[in-house]
């Protein structure tokens, strides 16, 4: 029999419906002798920390800044999903991007993708915010929006849907140009990637296959979840949100069919440099990404 | 003596909430202008009786009459000298002595004048600005005394006023007190544990029995004071007889 490989996977968030592709891929990798052990941490920072300190093998997120500063050779190697966010404003106060000139907005955290998106949009529409406040958690911002504590923010798909369902006439989603940067990418130390090549390849193969299946038919997620018995104690309310969420994500090209690769890397470098998370000019892809594992995996799922 | 009794205690009893019966059926007359002592074993209810007379505790039975009026609470004709001094730790001597007057709403000028006078009389001149913690036990006791004197009450109720000073200071005080009373003409009710003190100071000694306290005996030591020095009094036959008599009675109460 084949020897089993163990991969410790650090997630910077609670496991919820967004993680279904990951969970499905992990189940399927298990069948092929790779145990992906997922631990949920309080935040992406702590998850990144776990990888740096060697308490986890693979981290999920986009800690480009940390990568640039920490001496340890850590590399991205797979794009799990691209950014999909929705700038949303209270209709009573704002109708368009122009109205946000000189106004206050709320984003996730300093240096996060959400801030970068809002800043890029501001640049595009030649406006300037008066103040950017940081409110971590889409859900928290959604509640704050409903309560009237904030009037303009940016939400992920499920929370945007929740808000629009709760009070459909009160809010407006602002149009956004195409942003291709990563929302979630996988990273690990070079040492790990070199040592566990086979295990990583199998895991990436499954992730890619799952993404392709979803892109072909979003309903597949539901079937697979039922089959594998994942997230069993999900409240009915959230269960109903799964399909719309994946439909929307697929429409917006959130899940790459090819793990992002070189183009994702380049997009990220550009995006995070603009956002201020990355410093310096002439950033090289190979300083941040290690593309070999993805290539090996893609070769098998052709 | 009933005729000129300024305080009359009529059938007073006191049971505390916990069920302790501290006093039972106490009848007592305290003559005007004299010093009466309450003496008895520890826990027999001396403090309780004094506080009932002061109007600080309500008796559960009987009544107290002061100057022909029934006691319902504290009154301006009675002033209390507390065993633990009860000085305001955050106020200086002057304010402490004037505190009774302050409560009565006297203007600052006026009450300071009166207080300074009494501070001088108890021998604390120069300590007006000191705080209680800077004084010795004996000096604190005198502040409490001056405060009681300052409100010019007719009756001074003193609860073991000299118990927290050493023997030698105590003797000094006793002499001072007698000298002071010579001038002031107050009625004094005095609680003590000390037989010698009672015999030396009192016109009338009320011996209380152990709990529940009742009057077990009243002794009037007929000691000649006029002219005789304190030291002579302490060798006076009458004095020694009284001490002896009291000791014979109290001895029985000691375990």
């Amino acid at each position: 029999a084949q020897q089993r490989t163990k991969i410790r996977y650090a997630l910077g968030d609670v496991v919820s419906i967004d993680e279904l592709p990951l969970l499905i891929a992990a189940e399927r990798a298990k069948a092929r002798g790779v145990d992906v052990e997922i631990t949920a941490f309080k935040s992406e920072d702590v998850a990144t920390q776990a990888v740096i300190n060697g308490q986890a093998d693979i981290g999920q997120g986009t800690p480009y800044a940390a990568l640039q500063k920490v001496g340890a050779p850590i590399r991205f190697f797979y794009q799990l999903s691209a950014l999909l966010f929705f700038p949303i404003v209270n209709k009573e106060f704002y109708k368009s991007w122009k109205d946000l000139d000189g106004q206050e907005i709320a984003v996730h955290t300093r240096g996060s993708g959400t801030e970068a998106i809002m800043n890029l949009a501001a640049k595009e529409h030649k406006i300037k915010y008066k103040n950017v406040s940081y409110v971590p958690g889409s859900q928290v911002r959604a509640l704050a929006l409903l309560k009237g504590n904030i009037k303009a923010t940016i939400l992920d798909a499920s929370n945007k849907n929740m808000v629009m369902k709760e009070q459909p006439d009160k809010f407006l989603i602002l149009p956004l140009g195409n942003v291709k940067a990563s929302d979630e990418a996988l990273f690990a130390t070079r040492e790990f990637l070199d040592k566990k090549q086979a295990g990583v390849r199998i895991f990436l193969e499954e992730l890619t296959k799952v993404n392709r299946a979803i892109n072909a038919n979003p309903n597949w997620v539901l079937e697979e979840r039922k089959k594998l018995g994942l997230l069993k104690d999900l409240p009915a309310k959230l269960e109903g949100e799964i399909l719309p969420f994946y439909r929307e994500a697929v429409q917006n090209g959130v899940f790459p069919n090819d793990g992002g690769g070189d183009s994702a890397a380049k997009n990220d470098l550009e995006f995070f440099r603009l956002s201020g998370a990355l410093k310096g000019e002439n950033l090289k892809v190979e300083d941040f990404w290690h593309l070999a594992p993805l290539k090996a995996a893609l070769a098998n799922v052709k | 003596m009933p005729a000129d009794a300024i305080v009359q205690v009529r059938g007073v009893g006191k049971s505390y909430d916990g069920g302790v019966e501290a006093l039972r059926e106490v009848n007592l007359e305290l003559p005007t202008g004299r010093l009466s002592t309450l003496l008895g074993p520890s826990g027999c209810g001396k403090t309780t009786l004094l506080k009932i007379i002061a109007g600080l505790i309500a008796p559960t039975g009987g009544e107290v009459w002061v100057k022909g009026k029934k006691v319902e609470g504290p009154g301006p004709e009675r002033a209390f000298v507390f065993q633990d001094f009860a000085l305001l730790p955050w106020a200086n001597v002057l304010r402490n002595v004037a505190f009774g007057l302050e409560l009565r709403g006297l203007a600052w000028e006026e009450r300071a004048k009166i207080a300074r006078d009494y501070i001088g009389r108890v021998g604390l001149k120069g300590f007006e600005a000191s705080y209680p913690h800077q004084l010795s036990g004996g000096m604190r006791q005198r502040v409490g005394l001056a405060r009681a004197l300052a409100v010019d009450a007719d009756i001074l109720l003193m609860d073991e006023p000299f118990s927290s000073v050493d023997e030698q200071t105590r003797r000094k005080f006793q002499e001072d007190l007698l000298a002071l009373l010579q001038v002031e003409r107050k009625t004094v009710i005095f609680v003590t544990h000390s037989i010698e003190e009672a015999a030396y100071l009192s016109d009338q000694i009320v011996l209380l029995s152990p709990r529940p306290g009742t009057v077990s005996r009243i002794i009037r030591p007929d000691i000649e004071r006029g002219g005789t020095s304190p030291d002579e009094i302490r060798r006076d036959k009458n004095y020694l007889d009284v001490v002896d008599e009291i000791w014979q009675i109290l001895k029985r109460y000691v375990d």
């Binding site: 640039q68 409110v135 504590n149 | 504290p74 009860a86 009565r104």
Partner: protein, 256 residues
């Protein structure tokens, strides 16, 4: 009692030795290194100088101290007032004492994540975090201060015909002063905890923002420096207040 004095006097030297020892160990641990993300003392110290000099730390404190001070001021008014009320009125005491006894023992910090759900994410929420943590000890201390008034002083006041009003103003309140002040000091200590946790768990502003930001961009020395600074500032503030307290209310004038 007498032992305190010499310790305080010789303390300067020993304090230096004590801290040198501590910082030395930290430096060693940082250089060893315990973890890639654990900066040495010297690096942390330099980072502290850096963020102080570029103004980001002072600015952060301006933001963080706001909810703290508002919260403590609220506790100072309402908390002390309520505590005094509890001490003076049996009805208030009985209706609220059991609750406050429980609250004082409770890890109120756990309530902070809930605050967002009621009061959102703004200044109010942070002020509330401070208030929730600080109020129990402020209220209980004021209550105890009132309740522990030397009964002999109260009897004295009554024996000199003091009214209830005079009793409260001239005896009970001055007597409770020291304990009330101590309650405020302990409240401030809790308030520091509250505001820091609130900034980490609710919205990162001020110090919380510095911590989250530097952590997310892996500026670990800056992050450590920020946290160490708040711990030191809080400790010094509380300790300073304690000394002030001993000056204003020396044990001698507190009464028993």
């Amino acid at each position: 009692m007498n032992r305190k004095e010499p310790i305080l006097k010789r303390s300067l030297v020993w304090q230096l030795i004590s801290f040198a020892l501590f910082f030395g160990l930290w430096e060693l641990a940082g250089r060893w290194p315990v973890s890639l993300a654990f900066p040495s003392f010297s690096k942390t110290f330099l980072a502290l100088v850096r963020i102080t000099a570029d103004g980001s730390l002072p600015k952060a404190y301006l933001v963080t101290l706001q909810p703290l001070l508002i919260g403590i001021a609220l506790c100072g008014i309402a908390g002390i007032g309520f505590g005094i009320g509890m001490g003076l009125s049996r009805a208030i005491e009985w209706a609220s004492l059991p609750l406050f006894i429980i609250l004082q023992a409770a890890p109120m910090a756990a309530i902070i994540p809930l605050i967002t759900y009621i009061y959102g994410i703004g200044l109010t929420a942070k002020v509330l975090a401070v208030v929730f943590l600080a109020a129990p000890v402020v209220v209980m201390n004021s209550y105890k201060g009132i309740r522990n008034t030397n009964p002999s002083l109260i009897q004295m006041c009554r024996s000199f015909l003091g009214t209830r009003r005079q009793e409260v103003i001239k005896i009970i309140l001055p007597h409770a002063g020291a304990l009330i002040f101590a309650g405020l000091r302990l409240g401030l200590a809790m308030g520091f905890i509250g505001v820091v946790i609130a900034e980490l768990l609710i919205t990162p502003t001020g110090i919380g923002d510095l911590i989250t930001y530097h952590s997310s961009v892996a500026d670990y020395p800056e992050m450590f420096a920020t946290i160490v600074s708040i711990i030191v500032i809080a400790a010094l503030a509380i300790h300073g207040l304690e000394r002030l307290e001993q000056k204003i209310f020396p044990p001698e004038i507190r009464g028993s």
